[in-house]
Amino acid sequence: MQSKRERVKIGRERLQRVIEMCQTVEERSLDPFLVNVDEIIRVIREFFPEWENPEDLCLDAEAINRLASVIKLQSEWVKHRSTSLYTDPFLLEEKVKRLEKETIVEAFLGAWQPIIELEQITFQSLKEALQYWESLSPLKDRWKAFPTPEEAGGTATREELIKLKVLRDKAFTEELENFWNELKRLAAEKGENGRVSYWDFVGAETYEETVHRAFLTSFLVTYGYATLEINPLEEKIFIRPFKKQQRRISKEQLVSIPIAITREEWERWRK
């Protein structure tokens, strides 16, 4: 005897299969009569009493909707077969294989009336084009409309480039290692079980500095200087520094953990 949970699981799988089959028939123009409509209706009816969640009821509705599309295809198929345009594709295929190219072309020419169309310059269009050309100002005049900025060039100092964040005052690895040492110190002094709260570590006096620290932290984790520990129930994130840089030797798939550093989050931490 199956439990209710098992039956729901089986029912979902069956409906999913029905949807996929109907979709395939629709999209790949397969014979719609491959679908056994009576059998599908029996399956849908059999599992209907099991559905309680809105998601399952939606799945049920989707299966019925897909089945209706297949029935529509069947009806179109019957209609098409009854028209004078109907030809068995296999018959046609056989015929085409046997016919010579010349004969096929001969048949096509009997049913083809190509469109007559001209693409030709006229006296009127030439006249209009000449008028346009005459009224068109030379390029050198038109380009005058966009004067080049007359700002004088000069040299920037190293301090100015650092301020503009073009250059850093320390090499990145050096900065990262200092940051790692800071984390190790903080974990030893104020940490709990060798780890500190993520926000207590990245949080700074200004929002800009916080973002910069979060940026560096991401490299600490990626390069194996530290690891993140997440407590999903309490929604808390901790960062644990390693004593030595870890090399990635296991074949385990690394995961990326997105952490939003929003101004609201930062203000909440400050309070």
Binding site: W77, L91, V96, W112, P114
Partner: protein, 188 residues
């Protein structure tokens, strides 16, 4: 008498205008929509077109009306239905194989087009590209089949959706008598 000749002059001028509109390509696609003709020629444009059709008969040309969306409910379409139709000038009779070459088609490409269109018709207006390519490979070199299908798509004879299904497109509807093509192929 004077009234009669004035009317004739009006229609003669409208026929000229219709010739300019129909023969010269105005948009990306050739042909003119019914509402465009109504705007340029007035509400009696169907009459202007029938006069033009008479003029074109001895030249083996015709004015062809193609309904792109819905087919008209009765044999005589309403003005509203005509507005939505597209009008073209097409050949009235048939081309000979020699003449077909002159309009820029190689015999191979034309045979491929015939097979493609006929197969799509036989599959209720929708066929997988793969099946059509296989069918074409019977008579054409493999490298050419895909190029040919792309060419038929570019010319507007067929179209393709994201699932690689081929459909008949506007040019086939305008130029090919689908029933005649199937009958002719099966009777060979």
């Amino acid at each position: 008498m004077e009234k009669m000749s004035k009317r004739k002059a009006v229609y003669a001028s409208k026929v000229k205008r219709a010739v300019h509109m129909l023969f010269y390509r105005r948009h990306k696609k050739p042909g003119v929509k019914g509402w465009e003709l109504r705007k340029a020629l007035g509400a009696d444009y169907p009459k202007v077109l029938s006069i033009l059709d008479e003029y074109l008969k001895p030249l083996d040309l015709q004015v062809k009306m193609v309904f792109e969306e819905e087919k008209p409910r009765s044999e005589k379409p309403t003005l509203e239905e005509l507005d939505k139709a597209r009008f073209y000038i097409t050949l009235r009779g048939d081309l000979t194989p020699k003449e077909a070459k002159m309009v820029g088609w190689r015999i191979d490409d034309l045979a491929g087009l015939a097979i493609t269109i006929a197969y799509i018709i036989s599959k209720k207006g929708k066929a997988p590209r793969k099946e059509v390519e296989e069918l074409l490979r019977e008579k054409l070199p493999g490298w050419k089949t895909s190029l040919n299908i792309d060419r038929y798509i570019r010319y507007g004879y067929i179209s393709q959706d994201e699932n690689e299904q081929l459909y008949l497109d506007w040019r086939t509807r305008a130029e090919v008598d689908q029933k005649a093509l199937i009958d002719l192929l099966l009777s060979k």
